[in-house]
């Protein structure tokens, strides 16, 4: 047998090997799972947007809290003046009688 015939034999033998009949199904299944995985993956800009909005909410909360504190500091207090309650003018008037 010549060397060329040996080579042809090996190549022919390999050419006769058939792939698994379910190979296309396997490929489609892998494609499906990869697509599902990609769909589940949250894009970086979304993660960034969520982090930024959380930060904003915290800052707004702190801001609102500060406003409330400063308002309570400026609230008017009630001073009770006893002289006004007693109606001293009346007694004074009595003295002139």
């Amino acid at each position: 047998m010549k060397m060329e015939d040996y080579i042809n034999d090996v190549i022919d033998k390999e050419k006769q090997v058939q792939p698994n009949p379910f190979l296309s199904t396997r490929i489609m299944a892998r494609l499906e799972s990869e697509t599902a995985r990609e769909a589940k993956r949250i894009p970086a800009w979304q993660k960034l947007a969520v982090a930024a909005s959380l930060g904003l909410v915290v800052m707004m909360g702190v801001g609102i809290g500060n406003t409330r504190y400063s308002n309570s500091n400026t609230s008017s207090s009630l001073n009770i003046n006893d002289s006004q309650i007693e109606g001293l003018n009346y007694y004074i008037a009595m003295d002139y009688e």
Binding site: M3, E4, Y6, I7, V10, I11, K13, E14, K15, V17, P19, N20, L23, S24, R26, I27, M28, R30, L31, E34
Partner: protein
């Protein structure tokens, strides 16, 4: 339903691609079924193992699906597919540990020998010769191997091989002649002629 399938089977590659790109994922299965044999044969020429070749076929079609929208139709779809197959096969070979695959192949040959009229010694000689030929093919330069596999495993014309390799027909002919000469030299040394 069966009429629809028949109509899909008659579709050209361009029509199939158009349908896939418009979101009809199931049409991709038709494209896979149409070309899986060709891709598998080329992969076999590189890895000489059914399981490894099937892995390459999977990789190739996943890559094709991902980059289908970048296919501009300047060349035939099959040419584009063959290029992806060649690149994937070469990358896969670079990643694999050849020692392990060679060892596995040898063990498989020892345990799976056909039980026909050949004597054990004949079988051993043939198996060794087969391994030597595969090894000699593997040792060809990338370009010679590419031309050799496309021409001998896939029976493509020199024009088509030149188109896939983006070279001239003359260059392909030269590559094939050199590949043949290199193979014969290596094997003759081994046999001791």
């Amino acid at each position: 339903m069966s009429n629809e399938i028949n109509a899909q089977n008659r579709m050209s590659d361009e029509q199939l691609i158009e349908q896939i790109l418009s979101g009809n994922k199931e049409t991709f299965r038709l494209l896979v079924e149409k070309y899986q044999q060709q891709v598998f044969r080329i992969a076999m020429g590189y890895v000489h193992s059914k399981e490894d070749a099937e892995d390459i076929v999977q990789e190739v079609f996943i890559q094709v699906y991902r980059s289908l929208n970048s296919f501009q139709g300047k060349s035939e779809f099959s040419t584009w597919l063959y290029r992806i197959t060649m690149n994937t096969s070469l990358n896969s070979l670079n990643k694999r540990h050849k020692l392990f695959s060679g060892l596995a192949e040898n063990l498989k040959n020892i345990f799976n020998r056909s039980d026909d009229e050949k004597t054990a010694q004949q079988q051993m000689v043939e198996s060794e010769m087969e391994q030597a030929i595969k090894k000699a093919i593997d040792q060809l330069s990338d370009k010679q191997r590419m031309a050799f596999v496309l021409s001998r495993y896939e029976d493509l014309s020199q024009r088509k091989v030149a188109e896939i390799m983006e070279t001239t027909e003359g260059a392909v002919e030269q590559l094939l002649q050199r590949a043949k000469k290199n193979l014969q030299n290596k094997l003759n040394k081994l046999v001791g002629n």
